[in-house]
Structures are given as C-alpha cells and as structure tokens.
C-alpha cells in the first residue's frame, strides 16, 4: 500500500463526514460550535450569519448588543430580522428616541406591529408628559411582554440591569420562545452576562456597521464583521453624491473581501 493509498483510505470522504454529522448530532466536536437544534432567524447579512451559531439570531434566548453610550445603531442590525420574523407585535421597551415608523415601514416592518412600552426618554407631545420610569418597571414590562403569547419579538433598552435580572429575562424568553434583544452600553462589556450571544457594535470610518462577537456558543471569533447595513436606496443616493464606498481593505481577510457587498 502506497502512502497515497493509505491517505485515501483513512481520510473521510466529505459526504461520509456529513453522514457522520447526521448520525452523531448529539456529539459536539470542539472545533465546531454548538448546533443542537437551535431555532434561529437569519440576520439578513450572510457575513454575520456565518459567524452566529445556527446561522442567525437565536429564538428563545437573550441576545445582548453593546454600544457606546449615547449611540444607537441597532435598527440597521435588527430590522431585517424583525421584519421577517413572525407577524405579531414587535415590542420596544424603553427606546431612547422615537422610532420613525415610515422609515421602518419602508424596510419591511409595518407600523401596526410596533408597540412602545415605557418610552420614558421621549414624550411625543408636550401635553402628555411621560415621566421616565424606574428601571424595575422597565424590566417588569419586558418580562410581561415576553410572557405574552401574541408578541414575536422584544427589543429592550435597559440602562441599568444586573446579571440576575438578565437571567430572569433569558429564562422568560426561553420559556415562551421569543426573540429577545437587550441593548446596553459598552460599559457592561466586562460584566458577567447570561446572554447566549453578545455583540459589540461600532462604526468604521465609512459609517458601516462593525460587529464584534464577544460571546457565542462556539469558538471565539477574532475578526470583525463589517458591512454597510443600509437600505439600497440610501446606498445608491450616497454613491451618487460621491460618498466613497470602498471597503476598508486593511481589516478584511481576503476571503471575506470577495463577498463584500457592492
């Protein structure tokens, strides 16, 4: 038996490996991430999907988004999934600004689906002053929304939240099988968190979204995922006005550079 023959004999054929995967679905191999029957919703961006276990946002689990304090870029990241997942209400708990319904509608999220709880930070007209609520009330409202059968998705902006409170939300999301996002400020980066997925959001010099996966069920991720994350019409408008839209070469590995969106 030659060396080449031996190598052929012991290497596993790709299709055989797939079959093995099917047989031993319960066996987790250290180089792979946990895949065990995760129900996910695609993020709308293939680059990001490739980095997330199950290929999307986990349903029935807590996803944490960390951003610089005062900066809120979460819509670009979440909108495709929110528009696509279910047809029930999308409950926003404590949003920092009023969401602009016509813009969300144009990106697929119907305004009838939007519900705002505890919008303490903004009052739309001066006649009705909504005073900011205590953090405990926002938490309570978040949990109530998670326990509601009709609701599909909950996005909560929680400024001060402790790990055991997050754990409670995580359990409620798991019990009632809801898509739950908690948006926090970057100061929480080094705190312990029961979230299944933790992402850090930032912007590059093109104002593209850069996502760093801080925690996931799987091996750690070294590099950033970045893409424009804008509606096509806006992207075209920016291009027409000569805004430079070249990909930042320095930070992109070559394989991903090929898949960069135009």
């Amino acid at each position: 038996m030659t060396a080449a023959q031996a190598q052929q004999a012991f290497s596993i054929h790709p299709s055989a490996e797939e079959a093995l995967d099917g047989l031993h679905a319960q066996v987790w191999r250290a180089h792979a991430w946990a895949r065990a029957s995760l129900h996910t919703v695609a993020t709308g961006e293939a680059l990001l999907d490739a980095q997330l276990p199950g290929g999307g946002w986990p349903v029935g689990a807590l996803t944490e988004l960390l951003q610089e304090a005062g900066v809120h870029n979460e819509w670009r990241l979440l909108l495709p999934a929110l528009a696509q997942h279910g047809s029930g209400p999308v409950v926003l708990v404590g949003p920092p600004h009023p969401p602009f319904a016509p813009a969300l509608l144009a990106q697929g999220l119907q305004s009838q689906r939007l519900l705002c709880l505890c919008p303490g930070a903004f009052a739309m007209d001066t006649a009705r002053k909504a005073t900011p609520l205590a953090p405990a009330s926002c938490l309570w409202a978040t949990e109530q929304a998670l326990r509601c059968a009709a609701v599909d998705t909950v996005v909560a902006w929680l400024a001060q939240v402790r790990p055991h409170e997050l754990r409670r939300l995580q359990l409620a999301a798991a019990e009632h099988h809801k898509l739950l996002f908690v948006v926090r400020s970057l100061q929480a980066q080094h705190e312990a968190s029961p979230a299944v997925l933790r992402l850090k959001l930032s912007l590059n010099d093109q104002s593209h979204v850069c996502v760093e996966v801080l925690k996931r069920r799987g091996p750690p991720v070294a590099d950033l995922v970045q893409w424009a994350a804008r509606p096509a019409a806006l992207q075209q408008l920016l291009a027409a006005h000569g805004a430079p839209e070249r990909p930042p070469l320095a930070q992109m590995p070559p394989a991903r550079q090929m898949r960069q969106r135009p």
Partner: protein
C-alpha cells in the same frame, strides 16, 4: 309529566384560598338557572323543578351531573328531592344535620328517601310555631297531622298549615316568586372589619368578583367596564378629600376597563390590584359595592377536533392593560402613520386603547401600500421628538465633532396651509464619526427667524 323538585342548602364553607362569592345562595341560584327557570328561595334553601329539562340534558342523572360540574362552590351543598317542593325541603330539613347528603350526588342510589308520612313535623315550616301543641296531641309526623280532621286543623292552627300540607302532598300547585338573573350586576358587600389601606380592599373585592363571575356565566356575558365603590367611615372628617378617586363625598370609586369583554376573573383581579395599589384612603372603609357598567355577549369557544398549536402566555390585550394599569396609560404607545410631507407629522405615537386608533381630523392616514414608496428608505430610523439645535461654526454644523455633509440639500417647503406650523427647510445627510449618518436640516432664510441667521438642527439618526 310529574314534577320533580330538588332542594339545595348551603353547608359551611370549607377554608379555601379561592374567593367565596359575596352572596353564595344567589350565585348558586344563578348557576341552577342554567338548567331550569323554576328556581325559588324558600327560607335558607333553594328549590327548583327539573322535570321539564330532564330530556334536554339526557336524563335526571346527567342533569344533576351537569349541574354539579358547571361551577364550583367552595363549601358543601346538601340536597334532597321529592315530588313537590315542600317534600324535598322536608326531606332536607327532616334528617339530622350531620347526615345530609352532599351535592353533587355520587353513585346510583342517591338519597335514602324518607316516606312523606314519616317526616317529622319540624320539617314543615308553617307547622313550626305549633310544635309544642302538636306534640301534646301526640302528633309527630306529617302522616299523623294529615290524619287529623281538616276543618278542625284549619280552625285550630290556621289555614296556612293546611295549605302547606296540601302543597306538600301535591294537592295544590307549587308557586313561588321565581328568581331571575338581574339585568345589571350590582352587589354590595359589608367587610368583616374596617379596612384602612386600599390594597387590602382587594380581599373583599375578590368575593364580589366571584359573585360577578356567577352572574356573567348565568347571562353568558363578558364584562367590559366595571365600577368599584367604597363607602368611607362617616365619623372621620373626609368631606374635603379630593383626588382621582374621591370627589369630596363619603365614598370613593374607581373604574376598570378592559379592551375585550372577558370572564377571566384572574385578569380583572390583577388589574384591580394594580389600580388599588395607587389609591390612598382618607378614612377606613366598611362597605364595598361592585357594579357592571358595560357588558357584551361572549361567544363560546368552539372546540376543535385537532389539537391546534396554541402558544402559551397571556393575550396581548391583557398584557398591555396590565402594563398601562401599573405604569400609566402614557407608557403604552402605538404608532399611527399619516400622509404628510413634514417628517414630524408623518407619524404619531399615541396611547394604546385596544380599538383602532381614532384618526385625527384634518390628517389623512397613510395608505397601507406606502411601503412601496421608495422615499421611505431615505428617512432616518430614529426621529427626534423635537429637533435638536446644533452648534454651527464657520466650517459647518457640529455635533460631537464636525459633521461632513454627504447628501443634500433636499428642500422641504410644506405646511403653509396650516399657518404657524409651516416649514422651510433644507435637509442634508451628514456623517459624524461617532454617531454615523445623521439627518440634519438648515432652517431657510425667510422662515421668520428674527435675526436672519441660518440655524442647523439635528432631526434624526440613520441608525
């Protein structure tokens, strides 16, 4: 068909955590009204004739079973039956208290029936005043009383004894003031002790709610609006107390609203609990009163053959009502989109009310297919409630550092019909290093600014 009467009497309530209706006998009567219209209260017992309904419910045993299951009284209910109402009552009263038969009946031989002639005389209500005299006559049972000469009996003890005896033996018809379910629920409750704090009123209110449930079930209704009133102790000086619940008189009130008619008392209890938590009582309370203000016929649920995938959890209405009861109505908002050119008038976040939001006059709601409008994608996803004025230098507007203008100007001139809310603006898409793309505008000259300078405002974030 001969009549068949059943008599029911309430026993002692067992100590349970479930709330007891404030008037258990009326609640029981409303339950019985589901099977027969001939229900009456005699002394402390209920009598009703089921002979006319037996066929509908598939026999006497099935009817009794239906009655026993259709609602839960927490305490024991004793029962007896007979061909006439007084016979059934006599059998109920004739046995010693310990040996009554509990309802619902179990097993085929339901009640050991005492013959009418053998019933003791104290079981006949109208003979009770004359018991000592009758005992001296040697007369102890109904049979012995009936054997006496009728004329002498009527002269000696009055006509009503004879009439009752005739009615018991079926010689006179059973006619009573029949119980009807009232059109409007209105039940008072005297509290066992003075209540000083509003949340403690919930314990009394739970009994009223249990009574309400019996009423709603009897009328097959769901409740939409409820009023709870409480009377303040008149001895305290409370006439001057004014707040949301007290209008200076000696009583206070609060109203509960539900978006959908409901029979779910647990939901009402939670709503009431949240409302009562915010009430301050100026004086102790001794009386409560619950009244239904609006009700609606409740469609019964159809039962599916196939198990459908029901999602666990509360309904949306219940969840939102609970949040607005606890946090205030201003904390639950939904969006209404309008057709307008001014961004701040293109949407309105208004308090959720359950019904479709009322459209404001002079404002046209946007058509549902405006998603196809490509310009929507050019709007920012966050729109500031009030535009934020930016610091402007010679190099241009500043917001956490200098801004680079990328797209623009896009001229907006609208609202001139509305007079003071007319806008003259040039919108730009600008880039900030920290915040990404921003939507800013420049107030145009001639827009009524006194000093004539150009002001930059931040209006939204392309988040």
């Amino acid at each position: 068909m001969s009549a068949h009467w059943i008599a029911l009497r309430l026993g002692d309530t067992a100590p349970t955590t479930a709330p007891v209706p404030s008037d258990p006998l009326a609640a029981l009567a409303w339950r019985v009204l589901q099977v027969t219209p001939w229900v009456a209260q005699v002394d402390d017992a209920l009598v009703f004739d089921i002979s006319a309904s037996e066929r509908l419910f598939g026999g006497r045993a099935a009817l009794l079973e239906h009655l026993g299951l259709s609602g839960a009284h927490t305490g024991a209910v004793y029962w007896a039956q007979g061909a006439t109402s007084l016979l059934a009552l006599g059998r109920l009263a004739g046995v010693p208290p310990g040996t009554c038969t509990p309802f619902p009946p179990r097993g085929p031989d339901m009640v050991p029936e005492i013959a009418a002639d053998a019933l003791p005389l104290h079981a006949l209500t109208s003979a009770r005043p004359h018991l000592p005299t009758l005992a001296r006559l040697g007369c102890h049972t109904w049979g012995q009383l009936r054997a006496l000469p009728r004329g002498g009996l009527a002269r000696r003890f009055g006509a009503d004894v004879l009439a009752a005896l005739d009615q018991a033996y079926g010689l006179r018809p059973d006619i009573y003031p029949w119980i009807r379910v009232p059109e409007v629920f209105d039940a008072p409750l005297e509290l066992a002790a003075q209540v000083e704090s509003a949340p403690a009123l919930l314990f009394g209110a739970r009994r009223l709610l249990a009574q309400l449930l019996a009423w709603l079930r009897a009328r097959q209704l769901g409740v939409q609006r409820l009023e709870l009133r409480w009377e303040l102790d008149a001895r305290r000086g409370n006439a001057q107390h004014l707040d949301a619940h007290h209008q200076g008189s000696d009583h206070g009130r609060l109203e509960l609203h539900t978006a959908q008619a409901t029979q779910d008392m647990r939901h009402l209890e939670r709503l009431l609990g949240e409302q009562l938590a915010r009430v301050r009582l100026p004086a102790p309370v001794l009386y409560l009163r619950l009244r239904s203000l609006a009700t609606q016929a409740l469609p019964t649920e159809s039962q599916s053959l196939l198990p459908d995938s029901v999602r666990s959890g509360d309904s949306l209405h219940q969840m939102l009502e609970r949040v607005s009861a606890r946090c205030g109505a201003a904390q639950v908002l939904c969006a209404q989109v309008y057709a307008d050119h001014r961004p701040e008038r293109m949407q309105q976040w208004q308090t959720w009310s359950g019904a479709p939001a009322p459209v404001q006059p002079h404002r046209k709601p946007a058509a549902a297919d405006s998603a196809a409008d490509a310009s929507g994608a050019l709007y920012p996803t966050w729109l500031l409630a009030t535009p934020q004025r930016l610091l402007s230098q010679r190099s241009g507007p500043q917001f956490h550092g200098p801004l680079t203008l990328l797209v623009g100007p896009r001229r907006l001139e609208a609202g001139w019909l509305d007079g003071e809310s007319s806008v003259l603006r040039d919108y730009f898409v600008a880039r900030s290093a920290r915040h990404g793309l921003l939507w800013i505008y420049r107030q145009r000259l001639g827009s009524g600014d006194p000093d004539g300078t150009q002001d930059w405002y931040l209006h939204g974030y392309f988040a």
